[in-house]
């Protein structure tokens, strides 16, 4: 396998981004050509990699991992290696990421055409795509972490793309910092894994950290009553939860909608937020080192189920078209985590891929709507848009039905069904199953609400709605097709996808459909979906909608709590953030008052000592000496007054002296 070409997949968009970074603002066409061109090649290469992963066969059953490792740096006698990996997991994920990214790059050309920083937008998109593909194809947790952080950087830059809006700048900072909280856990997990396994390479011919020897050691080592593998897995899950917006680190994702809509579609719906799920699927062997009901997986399942329900609840009461979708994304990511947590990473990946297509579709549709009604995002200001924007309406409806899990035709139905099925079979507890079912109901409900508000009824806004240009609608059509076609490999009748991820050949059999419990679940979920859509239509579809939500009139306190996102942000503001700044002020106070105070006290003490010593010198030691000197000076002054400067005065004195001398001599001689 030629890994140089695999390496090109992340490198091409990165290099294109680097080149566009050097371009000037006016060179719009060149920058778009560079990045889209590089992304096209990367997309082709990633499809080729998927093909390779499909065809790879070493004659043995089980997963095939094609990898190459190369040295990065040497410390002591140890060489730290990074590596690239192609297996079904990375093949599927990489192809999806590259494909969706390509579509959104093209779509962005229409959406961002008028923006002053168009060139910079493509730079950041290229950076994101390269880093995200790096996460996908990495064969080393270190390389994953490196790209993971770069993805975070790209997300930061793109959320804050309209940096002159204070809300965008704040949202960008919040996104970076919230995910960094999780990343601290991931980082410590990474160091712990490095310590325990002696390597960060996933696969290395038996010496990798996801291979049998390392897993067995980690499963056997106990730290505080827990298997080391579970502790490391939970730490890694911190990072995954941060990126994938799992409770309680979900707060950044709805705010991230401050970014341009293509960014929301690409990063905050389809690819980056799914990276957490991908990471869990990638290091799933560590989670499952002590069996598929390990404590770490129970935590993952619980967090996932709770997030799915919790975010779906909040989505019911939002009025911003993108925020509804954002909470829906959080909820769907919860579904994926639930699937991984109940021991089916393949199912999680299936939902991930399916979700990527239809959620990208929904976001781009929302972008098209926002574009069409002149940058209005409040669904109460829309309505009746199906007449103005037919293409957008049809594709959006397909996305909505897929997300709601409308039976048989749409990929969302099959993947969500697989998750419910897996949760139902989970022997640990049935609670996640019921939570997920409730979340599925809510999903159908809030999506119906949104459809009713946006596309049905009368137009309530003040702009002149119009359909978006073809460069924007074409990707919508392609994604709509993908949202339907993805149901093909997803049916239990021909479970190509899961089998592929398990490394087995897909086979067709109708037994999947008659498997115990399947039909029951399928019927239940169908009923649930119909119930959700029906109830939604009942409440929102029949009467003209006003500024006040029908539920708000019925249950005001509950609606208000949901509309305010259950006050999670307020709680964080009051606790974590206040505590952090409190500690900061405390540290500064200690610094200024106590530590600098000690220094000042020492300085004051030395000044005091020097004052005392000065006093002793002046008033004791120098006293006698100074006085005698002064006396001498006075007498000298008196003597000097004889010297009047008059020559004749001197002469007179001389004469007088001579006379006296002579007299004395004369007296002596006599």
């Amino acid at each position: 396998m030629d890994f140089l070409l695999i390496a090109l997949i992340p490198l091409l968009p990165l290099v294109a981004a680097g080149l566009t970074a050097l371009l000037k603002r006016e060179q719009k066409a060149l920058s778009a050509t560079l990045v889209i061109g590089a992304q096209t090649v990367a997309c082709v290469l990633s499809l080729w990699a998927l093909l390779l992963a499909m065809c790879a066969d070493n004659g043995e059953p089980g997963l095939i991992h094609e990898f190459v490792n190369f040295p990065w740096l040497t410390f002591g006698h140890e060489t730290l290696k990074l590596g690239l990996l192609v297996d079904p997991l990375s093949g599927v994920m990489g192809a999806m990421v590259a494909f969706v990214a390509l579509l959104i790059f093209i779509y962005s050309h229409g959406y961002m055409k008028e923006d002053r920083n168009y060139t910079r937008f493509y730079t950041f998109l290229g950076l994101f795509s390269g880093a995200m593909l790096g996460v996908v194809y990495s064969n080393s947790l270190l390389l994953t972490f490196v790209c993971w952080e770069l993805v975070g950087l790209a997300s930061y830059l793109l959320i804050g793309f309209w940096f002159f809006k204070p809300s965008a700048a704040a949202a960008a900072k919040k996104a970076f910092l919230t995910t960094r909280v999780g990343d601290m856990g991931l980082m410590i997990g990474m160091f712990w894994l490095y310590k325990a396994a002696g390597t960060l390479l996933f696969y290395d011919n038996g010496a990798g950290c996801l291979e049998q020897a390392a897993l067995a050691t980690m499963a056997k080592t106990l730290v505080g009553g827990l298997a080391l593998s579970n502790i490391i897995a939970l730490l890694i899950f911190c990072g995954a939860a941060g990126k994938s917006g799992q409770f309680p680190l979900h707060v950044w994702l709805p705010d991230a909608m401050e970014g341009p809509t293509p960014v929301s579609a690409l990063i905050h719906a389809a690819t980056m937020v799914a990276a957490g799920v991908y990471l869990v699927a990638r290091v799933f062997p560590i989670f499952a080192a002590t069996g598929t009901h390990s404590i770490s997986l129970i935590v993952v399942a619980s967090v996932g189920a709770f997030t799915a329900l919790f975010a779906a609840l909040i989505a019911v009461a939002q009025n911003d078209i993108k925020r509804i979708l954002a909470y829906s994304t959080v909820s769907q990511l919860g579904f994926m985590m639930l699937a991984a947590g109940v021991g089916h990473p393949g199912v999680a990946m299936l939902h991930l891929i399916a979700h990527a297509f239809f959620k990208a579709l929904l976001f781009m549709g929302a972008g098209s709507v926002i574009h069409g009604v002149h940058d209005e995002q409040d669904i109460r200001e829309m309505g009746g848009l199906r007449r103005f924007m037919p293409v957008t309406f049809v594709t959006y409806s397909i996305g909505m039905l897929a997300l709601a899990g409308f039976p048989v035709l749409f990929s969302g139905f099959w993947s969500k069904d697989a998750i419910l099925h897996a949760a139902h079979l989970w022997p640990v507890s049935q609670l996640p199953f019921y939570m997920a079912t409730a979340a599925a109901f809510l999903t159908a409900f809030y999506m119906t609400r949104q459809m009713a508000y946006v596309f049905f009824g009368q137009y309530r806004g003040h702009a002149h709605p119009h359909e978006s240009p073809a460069v924007m609608t074409l990707p919508l059509v392609i994604l709509a097709a993908a949202a339907i076609l993805m149901s093909l490999p997803a049916t239990p009748a021909w479970p190509a996808f899961e089998e592929f991820l398990k490394g087995e050949a897909a086979h067709f059999s109708l037994e999947g459909l008659t498997e115990p419990g399947f039909l029951q679940i399928a019927l239940t979920s169908t009923a649930i979906v119909f119930l959700g859509i029906g109830l939604g239509w009942l409440i929102y579809g029949r009467k003209p909608l006003g500024a006040v939500d029908p539920i708000q009139t019925a249950a005001a306190p509950a609606f208000r709590a949901l509309a305010n996102r259950l006050y999670i942000d307020e709680i964080y503001d009051a606790t974590v953030i206040r505590a952090l700044h409190g500690f900061g002020s405390l540290a500064a106070w200690i610094d200024r008052q106590i530590l600098a105070g000690i220094v000042s006290a020492v300085a004051a003490l030395s000044f005091f000592v020097s004052a005392v010593s000065n006093g002793i010198d002046r008033f004791v030691i120098n006293f006698g000496f100074d006085n005698s000197c002064n006396a001498l000076r006075e007498y000298g002054g008196a003597a000097a007054s004889c010297e009047g400067g008059r020559v004749q005065g001197y002469l007179r004195l001389i004469a007088l002296g001579t006379v006296i001398l002579l007299a004395v001599i004369g007296w002596l001689l006599v």
Partner: protein, 101 residues
């Protein structure tokens, strides 16, 4: 004869001294000094003339030395006086008191 000469010399010296001590004019003070030197020279000559060995010419030598020194001294003195005059526009010795202690 010697006594007469010594008396003249003494009178001359007293005049010189008197002029030096009392005159304000620096030139006259210098003249007074010259008078005193003249009185000294007269004494040299007188003591030589009436000494035991007048062939040795000792007194004459002293007198010539003394005259030479007096000439030099007069030159220097006059130069000083001229400088003082330039600076103070006067030759009054009582005004030249810058060297007082």
């Amino acid at each position: 004869m010697l006594q007469i000469l010594l008396a003249i010399s003494a009178v001359l010296f007293c005049f010189g001294l008197l002029a030096t001590l009392t005159r304000r004019n620096a030139i006259l003070v210098l003249i007074g000094i010259e008078l005193m030197l003249g009185a000294g020279n007269l004494n040299f000559i007188a003591f030589w003339k009436f000494s035991a060995n007048p062939e040795a010419l000792t007194g004459v030598m002293f007198a010539i030395f003394s005259i030479a020194i007096a000439a030099a001294e007069a030159a220097v003195g006059l130069a000083i006086v001229i400088q003082v005059h330039r600076r103070l526009h006067s030759v009054d010795v009582n005004q030249a008191t810058q060297l007082k202690g």
